[in-house]
Amino acid sequence: MITGRILPRPILKFKYGTALTPIEGLKLNLKPFSGPSKIKIELLIGDKAKSNAEKLFENLTYGVKGYPGISEIFNCEVEVTNKIVVDENDFLNTINEISSSSDIVLAFIPDEMQLPYNLDPYMPIKRKLSMRGIVSQMVNYSTCKYLKNNSYVLYNLALNIYSKAGGKPWILDEILSSQIFIGYDTAPGIIVATIIQGKPPMKFKWDAELTRHPEIASNVDELIIKLVSEFNLNEPINSLTILKDGRIHQKELIKITSAIKELTERNLMKNDANWNIIEVKKKFTPRILRIVKNLMENPEKGTYIKLSKYSTIICTTGYPERRIFLQAPIRPIMIEIVDSKYWNYDLDIISRDVYWLSELHYASAFVSTKLPITILYAHRICSFWNANVKPQLNLKEKLWFL
């Protein structure tokens, strides 16, 4: 009755080759899939961490043992446009001095809880800069002090900077089953949706709509239509998958299907286009235990169990990245098909696509994330929005929230 298999790992495409993991592709010097040839960085440094921050930045740029440096990895030049050293209690007053000509602001700030809550600069910096359309990357004092020579940290920091500055380090080598994937999530007062192409160059965009309904994404239809119409597709959509983080309420479902109808009427979607609407659940899901010679381990990444004709559980993380349990076995995600145009979907393929979309998260070169990026990013933007970080329109194609 219940069957399982291991889904194939995604092949990641870099500029000069393919690899199975991001770190392998980067270490093999395959160079990023696409991105800027020059990154303009502005440094904002708390005075108490000045020497450590400068050392970390030097290592980040020129490399240390096991890490060749941002320019070498990403084939791009790094230019420091401005450096502001600031009293750590005065971060907020200094933000206005930052020019908007740089691609990213690298801010070296005190650790969380080091300063009283009202002086903690993390959110205010994010808030103010994003309102001006400037992307930022924070680095804690303790990272500067203790991890400035750590290649693992430097790889991830470089990856974040490059991606936030508009780079696309890797994409999927194989084409996904849907031409377009849309993911959405809600938080009190807001709905955020993301859109990504299922084939190269895997263009990405996000947008948000305010909502007054506290329980459901009551105007998700408007957001979907807006997002698709502004996505500049060359041809009407022939297949679409819509994913939501958590349960899709009946009323939301009605709105989504009406959005699909309107997209068809506006000729943004083909009449016979296939579509699937899917819930992705990350909480309270059953665990899968891999038993090797009576020892329990995490299941292999891609392990997938079909629970019914509507739902599956998928291990989007796991062995070999996380072989043993650190605290508990990894938690698989559960997907459930809520509605479909033809109901002739292939659950194996849909599950595979959801798994593969989780490998496109550019925050770590070493471990992937649990959720597909379509809903992970919607979720992250919701969290920032709730903290009053509301970025300018020019950031709608940038990954400022990584």
């Binding site: 309420h249 009323k251 309270f284 019914s308 349990f325």
Partner: protein
């Protein structure tokens, strides 16, 4: 047994014959050429010319040209071949899924659907709470069906009232009988309804066995640690899953809860000024005692809990608590109002309703880090043992209109 690398832009596969012989044992000679042929066919599939060398009991298959473009593709196929062989000849890997499956399919049943009259906002919340009240007041098993309807499973002999009247948050709510229908597990709305009915039955069973329920989490009301500052409690999280052929399953996993034992009012010796003056409280994560939601302290207000607050629509925090059904008899009128933030929204609470969330830093300072880690980080080998009491407890669920028996052990799934 097989290793794939990219050196100077050329794909190299190394097949260790010693390891291969160990794995294939008697079938080594028969299968070795077939495996080598399979690997070379993968290279050929991508039009990658190669050379084959044997050195130190190793087959080395090296691409002749620069082939980084196909490195990911070739590596994936060769590693899959390697895994398939390992699973086939060394079948010591099993997979267990932490679900309990019903022995028989659930019988389909009829429900009576009632629609909520009026009310246009927060229907989901209202119908959920109303279902609980109807269950308690009318002794009718009941749960939310859609946003504005509730449904009662039918045994067949009951006489259905035309209207169900309840009082919720000082408002009279009427649910009017709409229709009777048969549940279909192919319908998402019906599937979700059945899950809710079963989840409610699980919650009742766990409640009766001494657990506190928060959503789909059940925590046993028993402290695992002898300490004056903290408490560690264990329990499970659960979820009902509908399988094919009308079988149902319960997914369960262990959970642990680590909390401060004392509320903030006790911790600060009932001194409002001490709370107001401690700047370290600002930014501290806390958990209200009446909900599992985590919040962050934003500030401690000068007003006490009996002062009317503009933020609460002109009523005091104490009155607000009474309105939302939070117990107020143990609250001291001198307690200051604490302003909290959670997911971007502001909340107000009294210190006696808040407990600090214990951090690793706190545990280190208390010298309890290792002791607590041992309690909450359940070693893999103990998972089955830990969950066994729950597999027994939940092996039978009585839904009143039918009984569901579950196989009381986790299922093993064959993953080829």
């Amino acid at each position: 047994m097989m290793n794939v690398k990219l050196i100077n832009g050329k794909i190299i596969t190394i097949i260790d014959l010693v390891k291969m012989e160990k794995l294939l044992s008697k079938r080594f000679n028969e299968l070795k050429p077939k495996i080598i042929q399979k690997v070379t066919s993968i290279y050929r599939k991508y039009n990658v010319p190669m050379t084959i060398k044997i050195k130190d009991n190793k087959y080395i298959i090296k691409a002749k040209t620069l082939t980084a473009k196909y490195y990911g593709n070739i590596k994936r196929e060769i590693l899959e071949l390697n895994r398939n062989l390992t699973i086939r000849f060394k079948p010591n890997i099993r997979h267990q899924i932490t679900i309990l499956i019903s022995k028989k399919p659930i019988k389909t049943f009829k429900i009576a659907v009632y629609e909520l009259e009026g009310l246009s906002i927060q229907k989901y919340r209202v119908t959920s709470i109303a279902s609980r009240i109807i269950h308690n007041n009318f002794k009718l098993k009941c749960d939310r069906y859609t946003a504005n309807t509730i449904a009662i499973p039918l045994i067949g002999t009951e006489k259905l009232p035309q209207q169900l009247k309840i009082n919720l948050e000082n408002k009279e709510l009427n649910f009017n009988f709409k229709y009777v229908k048969e549940i279909s597990l192919n319908n998402k709305v019906d599937r979700d309804y059945v899950k809710r009915i079963i989840n409610r039955s699980i919650k009742n069973k766990l409640r009766l066995s001494g657990h506190r329920i928060y959503g789909l989490k059940a925590i046993l009301d028993q402290n695992l640690i002898e300490n004056e500052q903290i408490e560690v409690k264990c329990g499970i999280e659960f979820q009902t899953v509908i399988l094919d052929n009308n079988h149902v399953a319960i997914a369960i996993s262990p959970v642990h809860e680590l909390n401060s034992k004392n509320n903030l009012w006790d911790e600060y010796n009932h001194d409002p000024n001490k709370i107001r003056n401690d700047y370290k409280l600002i930014g501290r994560r806390v958990k209200p005692t009446y909900t599992p939601k985590t919040r962050i302290i934003r500030r401690v207000k000068i007003e006490s809990i009996t002062h009317p607050l503009r933020e609460l629509g002109g009523i005091s925090l104490k009155e607000y608590y009474e309105n939302i059904g939070v117990e107020v008899k143990d609250i001291d009128d001198n307690e200051p109002v604490i302003e909290l933030v959670g997911r971007g929204l502001y909340y107000y609470d009294s210190p006696s309703k808040l407990k600090k969330i214990i951090t690793i830093k706190d545990l280190k300072e208390m010298n309890l880090l290792n002791q607590v880690k041992n309690l909450i980080q359940l070693p893999p080998a103990k998972w089955n043992q830990y969950l066994s009491r729950y597999t027994n407890l939940l092996s039978t669920l009585d839904l009143e209109f039918q009984q569901i028996n579950f196989v009381n052990q986790f299922m093993e799934v064959e993953i080829p």
